[in-house]
Each structure stands twice: as C-alpha cells, then as structure tokens.
Symmetry: C3
Subunit: 208 residues, 3 copies
C-alpha cells in the first residue's frame, strides 16, 4: 500500500513536471528556467501539504528520487518536443488532469493517515491537487486553470469525497485509490472534451 | 481569554470567507471554485502564521469548526446574493476591513504568546491580517488590495503596535484586543470613506 | 564560519530589502506599504527554506536583527531617494543580483548542514535565492524577473553547484562561499550588461 502510494506520487510528479515544462516553454524560458518551473509544479503541492500537516521531512528532502523524476520528465519533454514538433495546448490540459487526479487522492490519503477530520482531509486533497498547478500558473503569470477552467475544483472535491467513501468499504487494497483517481480524471477529461460547466455565479455588482 | 481569541478567530474566518466568495463570484467561478477561494482567504493568513511560528497542529487541522464556518459563510453568501441581488463592490471592501482588523490583532497576540521580539510580533500581525486577502487577490488574478488601496499596511501596523501597547496596560481582559481591532477597522473605514492616503513614494526612475 | 554565514545573511537581507523598497516605490505605494514589501522580499526566501527544512525557529522569529536591518535598509532607501533623485531601474537589477548571489549560496549551505541529498541542496539554494524576489514581483503584480530576465535560474544553479564542488576542496574557511557568490554575481551582471541569454525553448503550439 505504501508502495502504491509512492509510485502514484512519482507518477504525479512526472506528469506535473511535464505540464510545468510545457508552460515554461510556452513562455519561451531557457532550459534552466524550464527546469525550475517543472520542479515547482511537480513538488509544490506535496510540499505545501507536508508543511501544513507537519509531516517532516518533506518527501523530496531526504529522497532524491522525486527531484530526479521531475528533472528527467522536464528534460525528456524538452528533447521530445525539439525532436518532433510543438505540443498542442490541449495536451497540457490532459497531463494536468492526470496530475490533478493523482495528487488529489494522494493528498486526501496522506491527511487521513494523520487522523484529521474529514473536512480537513478534503481540503488537503484539493490543496495537494491544485497547489502545484496554481504555483506554475502564477510563476508563469497566467490566470490559474482553477479559476477559468471548467469544473476544476469540482473534480477535486468529488474525487476526494469518493476516496473517503470508497476507503470505508472493504475493497481490495489500492482499489479505492485507483477508482477515485479515475473519477477525477474522467470528470476533468469530460469537462475538457465537451466544455462542461456548472452554472457560474455573479455575486458582485460592478458599480463605481 | 482563550475563548475570546477563538471566537474572534472564527469571526475573522467568516468575514474573510465572505470576501473570498464575493471576489470569486465576481470572477464568475462555479460554486465549488467559490468555496475553494473562500476557504483559502479565510484560512490562508492563520495557516501561514502557524507554519512559520511552528505552532502545530495548524488551527483547522484538528478542529473542523474552522472549515465549517468558512463553508457556511461562503454558501450563505451565495444564497443571500441569489435571493436578493448582486452586492455592491464597496461591501467587499468593508468586509475585508473587518477581517483585517480581527486577524491583525489575533496574529499579534498569537506571536506574543510565543515570546517573540516585538518587531516579529508586528510582522506576524500584519502577515496574518494581510496574507489571506493577498492569496485571494492573487488566485483571482487581481491586484492585491494591499498594493493599490489607501493606508492598508498602515492600518495593520498601527493596530498591531496599539495592541502591543494596550496589552501592557492593566486593562480588563479582552479590552486591549477589542480596542486595537476597532483602531484598525476605523482607520480602514475612514480611508475607504474619504479616500485618505499617505503620501506615495516614487523611488524608481523609468528610463529604458 | 557561522559568523560569516550570519553576516552574509544580513547583507542579503539588506540588498533584497532595498530592491523591495524600490519596486514598491515604483508602484507608488505609501511608506508602510514600501516597508511591508521590503520585508517580504528580504525574509521570504529564507523563511520558505527554513519552513521546508523544518529548521525552527525561523531566523527572524527569535533574532530581531533581521527585521531591523530590513527596516533600516528600506527606510534608508526612501530617504536617500527623496534627498537625491529617483534611482535608475538598472540599479534594481544590480541589487537583485547581489541578493541572488548571497542567498543562493547561503541556502545551499543551510541545506547541506542538514545532510540532504545534493539535488535537494541545489533546489534549496535556488529557492532561497529566488523566492523573495518572486514574492516581491508577485505582490507588486510584476512578471517575476526569473521568468523574463536573462540566465536567471541558470546563474543560481551554476552557483549552487559551484558551492557544492568548492566546499569539497580543502580551501580556506569561507573561500568556497565567497567564490561561489562571486560566480552567481558575475553571471548575472554579465547577463544584464550584454543581454546574454541561453537559447529559449518554444514547447507549446498555440492552436486554439
């Protein structure tokens, strides 16, 4: 179970590093700038979660596999794109959906291991899933995806709640994890594909 | 005394959640996006303070009252606005002033409990008051209020210093807290009402 | 050795406070706003490093020399500019290069003291050097220098690696520190002077 958690974490690190590299490359940064943004995107969410939960040492502080995976994913992305051709923007959205799915569920799981209340576990799940991407978007001076994309926070909240529910059932080890990742992923992919959206709210009058 | 601290903290959480919900609604986010922004705004400042002061567990990690209050305030704001009509932008500024007043004084108090130097206590007060709102504005891609609004940091610094001074006097328990909150609030409300401003500085030449 | 570390840290705090004050002044903030931005810029990077490495108390929490130095540097900058004339924008870039050099090396050193893997030490070095300036730029709503300026991350990574290499050699105490600071500084100054840049990457196709 620990092992599945670890592998998923590394997978999330890899896909988020790819999204970071793509976004930084889109902003025409140089190689090292791309590397920095990739690492921030890949490790930002988990670091924030561990610091707030006081889980020290933070994952990548003692285990350099994390930074290695993020670096390889970023450099691999750069090489791949130079050898072939620029990647369509849609690919970034899809990779982001994978990272979101993995990190949301892993964040919820990590919080539950600390015996926190359920609402806290949901918040930690959403934060772990979203924070790396938000840092990527802020550092690259883009409007964060969470703000302008369809059902983004919704997918995280539903996925986190699903994991909490499913992990209460007596399923095979790892099944709750995989199923709830799938739920987040499908919601986001469906939203990207068909431009699904919940009704938007307009709460503030623009007088003055 | 602990109880007053706790109640004030929850009040600050509620008003900042309202400002977060209003700002997110202004950006036409969906319900869950509004919820996420409300919670970030409400809990961001206190979380940052506790992490830097190494006060673990962070308030809302073990006690789900915080998240509950923030959620209710956000959902209540959404329902209220849908039932009546959009809220004037000025209301957001006023709610923000209440949150600023409460969190600045509470942050100063929390830091003093850790026997830090006075300058540190002032910084922690300003940070607690300001950080949630700055996160709200950054996530919503707005220019942070602290940057473009009248005497914003000034109100915090004066309020924090007032609390440090007043808490040295032999006042009734809680009086120093309430008085210094009132000072921050009045400074901000006066600044909003009459567009008060300290002289602005222009330190950089725009050659090139 | 501790003493050199401490003095360098304070020097970095002073120059970053100056850059923060200049940037805030450019945005025409009032005196207290300038002060807040200066302190965030000066203490942001080191705080982030200490929180992630779980080095508590964070430097400035117990020792108010840090806040004092940052405040004096900010107020001194304001007075200096009012007495003479606005400072050319180039000066901000140069002061930023000094801060970057000092904090990158100090961050690497602090991480190595915790016996972390080398890749972690490089990341902590880059983060310590860059984070304060990124916070300054985000709070002031500017595009972070790290994103649009020449060989910015590159200078940090080279400097951090140099320090790791040089500190393995049997040099005079402090020499590795000073030499690698000089390396970061020279790379950035050369980049500013001759607009040096690594090839930029364009990884994303702008369809849609």
């Amino acid at each position: 179970m620990v092992s599945l958690f670890y592998l998923c974490d590394l997978f999330g690190v890899a896909v988020f590093a790819i999204t970071g590299a793509l976004m930084a490359g889109r902003k025409a940064m140089d190689l090292f700038g791309v590397l920095v943004v990739a690492i921030v995107t890949a490790l930002g969410g988990g670091t924030l979660r561990d610091v707030i939960l006081d889980r020290h040492p933070v994952s990548w502080i003692r285990d350099d596999t994390y930074i290695l995976v993020a670096t390889l994913a970023a450099v691999g992305t750069v090489i791949w794109v130079r050898l072939t051709h620029p990647i369509p923007e849609r690919f970034l959205l899809i990779a982001d959906a994978f990272g979101l799915a993995v990190f949301t569920v892993i964040g919820t799981e990590a919080a539950l291991q600390q015996q926190v209340p359920l609402s806290t576990a949901v918040i930690m799940g959403v934060m772990t899933g979203v924070a790396g991407g938000v840092m990527r978007d802020i550092v690259c001076n883009d409007i964060p995806l969470i703000f302008h994309k369809e059902v983004y926070a919704t997918a995280c909240i539903v996925g986190s709640l699903s994991f909490i529910g499913l992990s209460r059932l007596d399923l095979l080890p790892g099944l709750a994890t995989c199923l709830s990742m799938l739920i987040v992923l499908l919601i986001r992919l469906a939203a990207i594909r068909w431009h699904l959206a919940l009704p938007r709210l307009h709460l503030l009058d623009r007088e003055r």
